[in-house]
């Protein structure tokens, strides 16, 4: 500027740099603006941002495996599936204790389904195992009871494992949560753990009290195993308990004491339990967080040497993402091409006529989406209206009717129709603000109709196209009903797959990962749009 002869920063009246005082003035404005949008912000935060955050979290969250199989996931850490050795007895013991609790809580099928996403078939062996858990270790139960009838009584176990303070108050209506005694945890760790897990489960699940219920068989198994490990355990206790335990230790060491192998028991339930792959899967997904869903969503899988591409035939998501993008773009472009002239005419008609025509544009909104989509089925199918007319006109032979539905063409046609108003409305409202005198001015300056349109009118309508395109593209990219109904197999979108995982396969983690990827792609495109066209160049009116 000619009057900017001054060098160095310009100062405001009070001597502070002008830039800084401007920033301060603007900050006040921003605060006020923020206060005005606060209610909406809160609403959006609660109903939109938080659910999205939850979805992002779900796509990496994996606590179900550690939560349901806490002992197993610890035991499996030492196991190396590649070594070829069979899973150890300890791992099966841990699995047994976990499963008996899980079965009581009815969680074993859920963890089975979760692992089934990664290794098909696991679901069924979990289900089978859960059914047989009650019998696991029965052989020990029988022998303990044969030894002494007291081993049948709940009080015996309370005396053995429970914290004395807890035991003193237990049995009432508002029994507190089971607490074990430190002595028991020290000398009989496995059995205490198993008993505590059982006690808490029956408290939570059925409102029962450990002082009144007979323990399950696996507890006897755990007790047996602890006593084998630690024959001096009775010394830590006093009274009847010590006597009972000492008798048990003696009996255990006798040759006629019968034992069983947990591994054998599991193998009997299903011999797939011996498969190292099952245990590899458990180990791989024993973390609290996993990138497994994302790998899966990107057509990768976890191999022995880190992530690897899935076999050709199992890759579906990459294609789906690509197809979703390309078709959404095709839909956006056809909406622009069809919508622009309509918006132009609407904007240039007298307002009364324009309003009538606007109703026609909005008319599709008044009919249900399903009805409109079904109407397209009627129009486009091989025995449908369009084909009938073409055959009748002799343009198409009767035995060569066009396939226009259950493919990408059908999806594009139907979705263009459905999304067209979203393109027309912003374009119309932007065009309405373009004063007709601009075109007149251009013509008076010597521009032909076309030049006037292209150089003067069109650039001013670009914000409307931009707003409409963003609207249509983002709606299209997440569209689900229409592709589902008219898309066939070739015309479905990624959202159909997400819906499938949410409502049918119940693999919410994968659905969340796919959704997250979709979100990131949209944000990337938005960013690119901002770089290329400039987001301030978007105007809805």
């Amino acid at each position: 500027m000619s009057d900017m002869t001054q060098t160095g920063p310009v100062l405001a009246a009070d001597g502070t740099p002008l830039k800084r005082s401007l920033a301060r003035a603007l900050r006040m404005q921003k605060m006020r603006a923020l206060a005005l949008i606060a209610p909406l912000l809160l609403f959006v935060l609660l109903t939109f941002i938080l659910p999205i955050a939850d979805m992002l979290f779900r796509s990496v969250e994996n606590s179900i495996v550690t939560d349901t199989l806490p002992r197993t996931t610890v035991a499996v850490q030492a196991y190396d599936a590649d070594s070829g050795e069979a899973p150890s007895e300890a791992m099966f013991d841990a699995l047994a204790y976990d499963l008996v609790v899980a079965a009581e809580r009815k969680e074993h099928t859920r963890v089975g389904s979760r692992l089934n996403y990664e290794n098909a078939g696991i679901s069924s062996i979990f289900r089978k195992a859960g059914r047989s858990m009650d019998d696991m270790g029965e052989i020990y139960l029988d022998q303990f009871v044969d030894l002494d009838k007291a081993w049948k009584e709940p009080e015996t176990f309370v005396a053995l494992f429970a914290d004395p303070d807890w035991a003193a108050e237990a049995g009432g209506d508002d029994e507190s949560r089971f607490a074990y005694s430190d002595t028991a945890a020290e000398v009989l760790p496995g059995a205490t753990d198993a008993y505590a897990a059982w006690a808490r489960t029956i408290q939570d699940q059925d409102g029962d009290s450990p002082t009144k219920e007979k323990p399950w068989a696996p507890i006897y198994m755990a007790l047996y195993k602890d006593l084998v490990q630690n024959p001096d355990a009775p010394a830590a206790f006093g009274g009847d308990t010590a006597a009972l335990l000492s008798a048990a230790v003696t009996a255990i060491q006798a040759p006629e004491w019968q034992t069983m192998s947990t591994r054998e028991a599991f193998a009997e339930i299903d011999k797939d339990w011996l498969d190292p792959e099952v245990w590899r899967t458990i180990k791989t997904y024993s973390g609290k967080y996993t990138n497994g869903y994302f790998l899966n969503a990107a057509d990768f899988q976890k191999g022995p040497n880190g992530p690897e591409l899935r076999p050709e035939l199992e890759r579906i998501y990459g294609t789906l993402f690509l197809r979703t993008m390309i078709m959404s773009m095709a839909i956006t472009v056809s909406c622009i091409v069809l919508g622009y002239p309509v918006a132009w005419i609407l904007a240039n008609l007298p307002s009364r006529t324009a309003n009538v025509l606007m109703i026609l544009v909005l008319l599709p909104f008044w009919t249900s989406l399903l009805v409109r989509t079904s109407a397209w089925k009627v129009m486009l199918q091989q025995q449908g209206v369009i084909n009938d007319v073409l055959v009748w006109l002799g343009i198409v032979a009767d035995d060569a009717r066009l396939v226009m539905i259950n493919n990408q063409f059908g999806t594009i046609v139907a979705m263009t129709h459905i999304l067209l108003p979203f393109m027309i409305l912003p374009m119309y409202s932007v065009m309405q603000t373009i004063n007709p005198s601009y075109l007149r001015a251009a013509k008076s300056l010597g521009a032909t109709n076309w030049t006037a349109f292209w150089r003067v009118y069109f650039p001013q309508s670009v914000p409307g196209i931009g707003a409409g395109s963003i609207l249509v593209f983002i709606l299209a990219i997440g569209y689900y009903i229409t592709p589902e109904l008219v898309g066939g197999t070739k015309g479905v979108f990624i959202s159909n797959r997400i819906a499938f995982h949410i409502s049918q396969s119940l693999n919410w983690g994968l659905a969340a990962a796919l959704g997250t990827i979709l979100l990131v792609v949209v944000l990337l495109l938005y960013w690119a749009y901002d770089k290329i066209v400039g987001i301030d160049n978007v105007k809805l009116g």
Binding site: S437, Y438, K443, S444, L445, A447, T451, A452, Q460
Partner: protein
């Protein structure tokens, strides 16, 4: 009209009519001839058809009937972009997505001028309106007056012979408007362009124009140079519309020797110059300019009719005094007197005698 003057004509409207809805005529039988280089203003109340005439000339509206000629050739069927007429719009219509320089360069680009030539012309046009340093800005970054000047520069940059301006100064404040009025007339004169200028500000019309066409109801009521328009209005609409005017109603008694004897409605007789009354018995409105009324007996000419008047209000306006009188039953009779040292100030309630020259008193249509 002689053949010589016809070939002189640069812009011609011949029996032009215009109707938008097929029911009412917005422009009724417009005839207008402008020589090259003239600054003609269309003045008239809102809705009188000024913009419509301009639009027909520019080619954005088509005449329903009649012929419009530019430089002797009919332009009825020539599209706007081939007419080569510069135009300044009421809202300026600067293209918001282009910079000032791009706006100016636009008409040159569509005329396929070379880059260096374009730049030179843009610079010259911007300098002409003293906006040389604003070439890189967007229209929205300019003040109203600056936008106005840019609009003017854009209309002139491709050197049209005819420039149309539709209330170009409507949005400006008084001071800026006066400055721009001067600028526009100066430029028009320097460049020798023909200008059709639309306004409904009569001061603007009187100060800027070679001739003023007063529009009302789709017709030109009078087409004359400013002084003639003011001093010799040819009908009561023009007399009312241009400047301040006193009217007295009455009936023509007789017309003889270029004078009309008019009996006012309260019975008084006065002499007036007949303008569009032709016979005795016609109703008429007699119009007298406030500054042509005299109440000082010494300055009144021998033999003129005088009327009794009562002073109702005296307003001191600095350079002039403005006095409201009751004359012949009219309470709104205004006289203006110069604030001269020897001038007496009238008091409300005072009874005086007023008179005027018969030439200044025009008997117009009722």
């Amino acid at each position: 009209m002689a053949d010589a003057s016809k070939s002189d004509a640069f812009v011609e409207f011949e029996r032009v009519q215009k109707s938008y809805d097929g029911e009412t005529l917005v422009v009724k039988d417009l005839n207008l001839t402008m020589p090259k280089g003239e600054f003609l203003t269309m003045l008239g109340p809102s809705g009188s058809g000024k913009t419509t005439c301009l639009m027909m000339l520019a080619g954005f509206e088509t005449a329903t009937h009649g012929d419009i000629r530019l430089g002797g050739t009919s332009i009825n069927n020539i599209p706007p972009h081939k007419r080569g007429i510069g135009m300044v719009f009421q809202n300026y219509a600067l293209f918001p997505h282009m910079t000032i320089a791009e706006n100016l360069s636009f008409p040159l680009e569509v005329r396929k001028l070379g880059k260096s030539e374009r730049e030179a012309k843009v610079k010259r046009a911007l300098d002409m309106v003293e906006m040389g340093s604003f070439g890189g800005r967007r229209p929205s970054q300019l003040s109203g007056g600056q936008q106005q000047r840019v609009a003017l520069a854009r209309a002139l940059v491709f050197e049209p012979e005819l420039v149309l301006m539709d209330e170009p100064l409507g949005a400006l404040d008084k001071q800026l408007r006066e400055k721009m009025q001067f600028e526009i007339t100066r430029l028009a004169h320097d460049l020798g362009i023909t200008v059709v200028y639309v306004t409904h500000d009569q001061t603007e019309a009187l100060t800027m124009s070679d001739r003023v066409a007063v529009f009302n109801d789709g017709r030109i009521q009078q087409l004359a140079p400013p002084d003639q328009l003011y001093e010799e209005p040819s009908n009561s609409f023009v007399a009312q519309f241009i400047g301040e005017n006193n009217t007295l109603e009455g009936t023509v008694k007789e017309i003889s020797g270029g004078r009309a004897l008019v009996q006012l409605d309260d019975g008084e007789l006065i002499t007036a110059t007949p303008v569009n009354v032709s016979e005795a018995g016609q109703r008429t409105r007699v119009s007298i300019r406030p500054e042509r009324v005299e109440y000082n007996k010494d300055r009144l000419q021998e033999g003129v009719h005088t009327l009794k008047a009562e002073v109702l209000e005296f307003i001191y306006m600095g350079d002039i005094f403005r006095t409201r009188l009751r004359v012949a039953g009219n309470d709104e009779f205004i006289i203006k007197t110069r604030n001269a040292p020897d001038q007496t100030r009238l008091q409300p309630g005072q009874q005086i005698e007023i008179g005027w020259l018969p030439e200044d008193c025009r008997a117009l249509d009722a």
